[in-house]
């Protein structure tokens, strides 16, 4: 029965009818998860008139699985482009406004869950009541302490199962001291445990943080190397010599191939590469066979070893592959992916072998995963240098991938879309980008977009490409669709969008973009604000638009002011002051424009010449000689060379009194004096 999450009780009536003939046929209008006992027989009702009834054909009942109805209903709805991702509370106050915030909100949620799980697991006796029907095992407390006491193999097995490294090693030693032999299987599983964790205790906090930690490290490195997609995480050698694993390995009376294999894999995982290769030769000497996972590890070991030339490494890998074939071990997807991953280090030398590997993979019949294509893209487009002439392999790849649906097969599957979009952005090819995006939206492929920062990277690149290459209407539609429900734009993305608007001459959208930028937390990015102001102030526009721009400028000014208030050394960029003043003038806010002039002196920034001209025009329009003189005073205060020209204009255009003329001449003489004193060239140039 479908459990709809609602507080309502919904009763569904079902009509079940029976025929007169005594057969059980149920006409069910809902999921037939119930069936009635076939043993209750309906007696023949005597005298039933069977002849003369026409044939009633009851169609066969359809069956479906438990979630089929829900999936069918889900297919009728699409993504809501105004809503934040469903994990957040849908309230204007609680929706995150930047990617930092969204990450911290999700972490907060997860940490709450972890804290609850931790409490439940630490005090299991308080959480025994179970009201859930049917029983939900994952909500019950888990037991992390070993229950079996005493020294026995069963106790050892239990500790291995609970992943207690130290305790199981101690138990093993105790068993050996007591003289009991430990079976090969148990020793192997102990070796597995030790090699997997590298002889260190798994993170004591809890079992759900382990993977997060390694993911964090990986992401930190990824972010630092965002532009250059260099391979690999250098863990550093964490395999201590003569640690417990090696000791126990030496103590084991009989070793089978599983023991060797697990040791080799552990060594490679913890970067004890030389020992791994040595152990492999020992394995061969004992005439044992390695399995495919061990071969994968060995290939990785060969590629990571430091001191050899590329051709030697490649030859060694080829030898390993030959041995694999000789031992009749079939390669799997991981084998080829490992080879391709290692080839990345070989730079351009690795291109031909990569293609050979790929063809081999296809020939054997192994379906490549997204990670395969990711490595190939990395190899061929490693350095972003389109002038060198990039290969066209991305087009072949996209053609091959069209319409395919993938399932997760390799941990690196989620890096494909990021690298593909990066290549599209480098090649400046919008069609290709649409193809990649189409692939992302096929079936379940959206799951491969990866964690937050990768998704942001992908969409930032995609959107920047759209701004660059696509028509403005389509770009604006994408803007509304993607932002902010899919990703939060960086200020650079917004600047790209503004430039696209500029090219398409759609500057009236700018106030809206500014409003959105404030929402996404870019209200304090100087570069963005200057770009906006510059675009608005550059040309003259029709009056309503001018008013809208003036409002926007006032808004930006208030952000500067609030920024001011919080800093001891206020700092307004000169350009911003210029633009804001111009916009106020043109938008009809004369008073505020004059206030801006005052700010110039306060912040000690020089007003531009065109600005002063415009102020003069506005003073003339309002026929206010006092203001005109103000301007000249300001110009002279900054010792601007244009001061004289302004003074002359004042005298020509305005009706001023004699003292004012005197004052003006003084001012101009001051300036010209100081000019001639300091630099005669400028005075002459004027």
């Amino acid at each position: 029965m479908a459990a709809v999450a609602s507080g309502l009780y919904v009763g569904v009536r079902c009509r079940l009818c029976l025929t007169l003939t005594g057969q059980w046929t149920g006409l069910c209008g809902k999921a037939p998860s119930r069936f009635y006992s076939g043993s209750a027989t309906l007696p023949k009702i005597e005298g039933a008139n069977v002849t003369g009834i026409e044939e009633v054909v009851i169609p066969k009942k359809k069956t479906w699985d438990k979630v089929a109805v829900l999936q069918a209903l889900a297919s009728t709805v699409n993504r809501d482009s105004t809503a934040a991702p469903y994990a957040f509370q849908d309230d204007p106050y609680l929706i995150p406004t930047s990617s930092v915030e969204s990450r911290s909100f999700l972490l907060a949620k997860k940490s709450g869950e972890n804290a609850a799980k931790f409490i439940i697991n630490s005090h299991p006796k308080y959480f025994q009541k179970d009201t859930a029907e049917p029983h939900i095992p994952c909500l019950m407390p888990e037991y992390f302490e070993p229950q079996i006491e005493g020294i026995s193999e069963a106790a050892l097995k239990e500790r291995i199962k609970l992943k207690k490294v130290r305790a199981s090693v101690d138990m093993f030693d105790q068993l050996l001291q007591a003289g009991t032999t430990v079976s090969l299987e148990t020793s192997n599983s102990l070796l597995d445990l030790l090699c997997y964790y590298g002889d260190q205790e798994p993170s004591a906090d809890n079992h759900f943080q382990q993977s997060e930690k390694s993911e964090e490290l990986e992401e930190a490195i990824e972010e630092n190397n965002e532009k250059s997609k260099k391979a690999g995480h250098q863990f550093g050698v964490t395999w201590r010599a003569k640690n417990n694993a090696e000791r126990i390995f030496a103590l084991m009376p009989e070793k089978n191939s599983h023991s060797y294999c697990t040791m080799i894999r552990g060594m490679v995982k913890h970067r004890a590469l030389v020992q791994a290769l040595n152990l492999y030769t020992e394995l061969l000497n004992n005439r044992l066979h390695a399995d495919v996972y061990t071969f994968n590890a060995l290939i990785e070991a060969t590629a990571l070893s430091m001191n050899e030339k590329l051709e030697d490494k490649w030859n060694k890998i080829l030898e390993l592959l030959k041995e694999m074939a000789a031992q009749k071990v079939k390669p799997n997807l991981q084998t080829f992916n490992t080879i391709l991953k290692c080839l990345r280090r070989f730079y351009s030398f690795g291109r031909l072998p990569a293609l050979q590997t790929f063809r081999e993979m296809k020939a054997i019949g192994i379906e490549p995963s997204l990670a395969t294509y990711h490595y190939i893209i990395q190899l061929f487009y490693q350095h972003e240098n389109p002038s060198k002439g990039s290969s066209l392999i991305i087009y072949d790849i996209m053609n091959e991938l069209k319409g395919k649906k993938f399932s997760p097969k390799d941990p690196d599957d989620d890096m494909f879309f990021q690298s593909a979009m990066r290549v599209c952005s480098v090649l400046r090819d919008l069609e290709l980008a649409y193809q990649v995006h189409g692939l992302l939206n096929t079936g379940d492929n959206w799951k491969f977009i990866g964690p937050d920062h990768r998704r942001n990277f992908y969409y930032s690149k995609f959107f920047s490409l759209l701004c660059l290459m696509e028509q403005i209407d389509v770009t604006l539609k994408w803007y509304k669709d993607l932002i902010p429900s899919v990703f939060f734009p960086r200020s650079q993305t917004l600047i790209d969008l503004l430039q696209a608007l500029d090219v398409a001459n759609r500057l009236e959208v700018i106030p809206e973009i500014w409003k959105d930028s404030k929402e996404y937390g870019h209200g304090f990015r100087d570069a963005l604000k200057e770009e906006i102001l510059m675009l608005m102030a550059r040309d003259r526009h029709p009056p309503e638009l001018q008013v809208a721009f003036a409002d926007c400028a006032a808004d930006i000014r208030s952000t500067y002011e609030s920024q001011d208030a919080r800093q001891t050394a206020p700092d307004w960029p000169a350009n911003a002051l210029n633009y804001i003043a111009v916009l106020f003038l043109r938008g009809g806010r004369i008073q505020e424009a004059w206030k801006m002039l005052g700010l110039f002196r306060k912040h000690n920034k020089i007003p531009g010449n065109e600005l002063l001209d415009e102020f003069m025009d506005s003073a003339k329009a309002s026929n206010n000689p006092a203001q005109a003189i103000e301007i000249v005073k300001l110009a002279s205060a900054f010792s601007l060379p244009v001061c004289e020209g302004l003074a002359q204009r004042v005298m020509a255009d305005f009706a001023i009194s004699q003292e004012q003329k005197e004052a003006l001449r003084d001012l101009t003489s001051l300036t010209s004096d100081s000019d001639s004193d300091s630099d005669s060239d400028i005075g002459e140039g004027k």
């Binding site: 009780y9 079902c14 054909v57 699409n78 930092v100 919080r566």
Partner: protein
């Protein structure tokens, strides 16, 4: 830029995975990544970090032709920021208007059907058509359904949000059948009706059996069918002691051997005796038309009760019988 350094900082302190990291990351409590959030403490005027401002509601971004079932795909509480309608609800203060939708608890309390607009229902039905089979072509009228499938079973399923999916009310099974579709003769029908008692409705001729004594629906269904079977068979049998059925047990009035018959016979005999007409034959007397008529009226009066029609018919028949007209 602060935005870029913050995640790296978070990453490099893996131990701070818990509340500590999240606290310090959000502690400026401002929406934007201000370049120098820590200088908030230095200036004397603005020591308190700025309060987080709420975003404008989503309704401002909604266009007129948006896909509403995508905004409310499932039953969800009323979200004033997501519903672009200017609804008001609540008892107004004097000379006021009902409260607006923001923060309105009344709108939250009531169930809403924003997820089931006609457009959404149409889409759902389209999607669910794949799960349905066709209606049999031969059953194109109610009578035919009655004829082929006389027994009707009613069950109810209950769905709710909660830890348990079981609901004890779901075990009830109701079986309805018209007695006319069962093969019963007069005696069997009367016996069946006596056996079931209240479960039979005379006006609609429907026998309703409602079972809930077993814990599972399946078991209750089997029990109901079993009951029907047993009733049917039992009503066809005739027991020894049924012969002792008295008049008080009779469901309807029968003229034969009734006191009314005897009375009228006596009366008629007395009339005949008064007329010095001694050769009378009881059967002949009873066979006359007036007596037949009288019998019919009495039967209808007794069976159907007193109403204008029956009483007037009785009056007429008595008059005729006693030759009073």
């Amino acid at each position: 830029m602060a935005a870029a350094t913050l995640p790296a900082w978070l990453a490099l302190q893996p131990a701070a995975r818990t509340l500590r990291a999240f606290c310090t990351a959000v502690s400026p409590a401002t929406r934007s990544a201000i370049p120098s959030p820590r200088t908030a403490g230095r200036t004397s005027r603005y020591e308190r970090p700025l309060r987080r401002k709420a975003l404008p509601p989503r309704t401002e971004k909604m266009t007129v032709d948006l896909d509403w079932p995508s905004v409310y795909p499932v039953a969800a509480p009323f979200k004033p920021s997501a519903v672009p309608l200017p609804v008001r609800m609540g008892y107004p203060v004097k000379r006021g208007v009902p409260m607006a939708k923001e923060g309105n608890l009344e709108l939250l309390k009531i169930p809403n059907f924003l997820h089931l607009t006609p457009v959404a229902i149409k889409k759902h039905c389209e999607a669910l058509k794949d799960f349905c089979t066709e209606w049999p072509a031969a059953l194109d009228s109610d009578e035919k359904c009655e004829k082929h499938f006389p027994i009707e079973i009613d069950t109810a399923d209950y769905v709710s949000a909660g830890p348990s999916i079981r609901n004890p009310k779901a075990r009830v099974v109701t079986l309805r059948v018209k007695l006319s579709s069962l093969n019963l003769d007069d005696h069997a029908k009367k016996k069946l009706i006596k056996l079931v008692g209240e479960r039979y409705c005379k006006t609609t001729d429907v026998l309703t059996i409602r079972t809930d004594r077993c814990p599972l629906k399946r078991q209750n269904y089997d029990y109901a069918i079993y009951l029907l079977t047993v009733l049917y068979h039992e009503s066809w049998k005739t027991e020894e002691w049924e012969k002792e059925k008295t008049e008080a047990d009779m469901e309807e009035y029968i003229w034969k051997n009734s006191p009314s018959e005897k009375n009228i016979l006596e009366t008629l005999l007395q009339i005949k005796a008064a007329e010095k007409n001694l050769e009378v034959n009881k059967e002949e007397l009873l066979g006359t038309k007036e007596v037949e008529d009288y019998k019919k009226c009495v039967v209808s009066l007794k069976n159907e009760g007193d109403n204008e029609e029956t009483l007037s018919q009785y009056k007429e028949s008595v008059k005729k019988l006693l030759k009073l007209m």
